[in-house]
Amino acid sequence: MDNLMEELEAKTAFTIPVFGGIPIAESCVVTWIIMGAIVLLSIILTHKLKKVPTGSQCILEGVMDWLDNFFTGILGPKGKKYLPFLETLIIYIAFANTVGLFGFVPPTKDVNVTAALAGIAIIFVQLSFIIEKGPLKWLKSFLNPINLLDLVTRPLSLCMRLFGNVLGAFVVMELVKKGIAAIGVPVIASAYFDIFDGLLQAYVFVFLTSLYMAEAMEEE
C-alpha cells in the first residue's frame, strides 16, 4: 500500500546543478520524449508526400481530415485559424495518456501538467474572445458574474477531470500488475484504461475547450 502511494507522487527525475539546483520533474522528461517522438513522426510521415496517397499517408490524411472536420464543425468557418492549436493539444494529450503502454509514467498523471494544460486552454479561450469581439466586449462580459466564476471553475474541472482519469487508470493498472499478473488480464485492462480511456479523455478535453471557444466566439 505504501509502495503504491509512493508511486502516485510526482517524482523528480534529476536536478540541474545551477542556482542551487533546479529540479526537473519526471513528467517533464517524459514530455521531452513525447516531443521528440512527435517531431520524428511528423518528419517521417510528411516526408515525400504524394498527390495520390498510399500507405501511411492515407492514415495521416484520414486523421487530419477527421480532426479538421471535427473542429470546424464546432467552431464554424471563422474558427479555422485556431485549428492548429487545438490539434496540437489533442495530439499531445493523446500521446501523453497512452505513453504508459511503452512503460513510461504518463505526464498527465502529474497534476501540475494538467493544470498547465487547462491554464493554456482557458487563456486561449479568452484570447479568441478578445480577437473575435474586441477587448471592450471582453471586459464588459464580466459584468455578468457567472463569466467571472467560469474563469475559475472551467480550468479547474478540465484539470481535475484529466488528472483524475489518468491517475485512476494508473492506480488500476498498478493494482492489476501487482495483483492479477495472469496472462491476458493486464492486456485487456491496459486496452481499456490506457488506450480507450486515454484517447477518450484527450478527446473530451479538447472537445470542451473548443466548445468554450465556440461560446466565446458566437455572435449575440
Binding site: L8, M160, R161, G164, N165, L167, G168, Y203, V204
Partner: protein
C-alpha cells in the same frame, strides 16, 4: 488508518451518482438513435459531452479520496 480509510470510501461514493447519470444519458441516447438514426452523429457528440460532465463528479470524489489517503 481505519477512520481515514472510511472517509476515503465515503468520498468515493460520489461514483454512484455519476453512474446513474451516465446510465440515464446513455439510455436516452440509444432511444433517440433508435428513433432518428440519421441524427446519430449529433446525438453521440451531445452524449459524450454529457457523460464527460457527469463523470467529473465521480472523478472529484476519487481525487479527494486519494488526497485523504495520501495525507494520512
Amino acid at each position: 488508518m481505519g477512520l481515514i480509510a472510511l472517509g476515503a470510501a465515503i468520498a468515493v461514493l460520489t461514483g454512484a451518482g455519476a453512474g446513474i447519470g451516465i446510465g440515464i444519458a446513455t439510455a436516452k441516447a440509444t432511444e433517440s438513435i433508435a428513433r432518428q438514426p440519421e441524427a446519430k452523429g449529433d446525438i453521440r457528440t451531445a452524449l459524450l459531452l454529457g457523460c464527460a460532465l457527469a463523470e467529473a463528479t465521480a472523478i472529484y470524489g476519487f481525487v479527494i479520496a486519494i488526497m485523504i489517503i495520501g495525507k494520512a
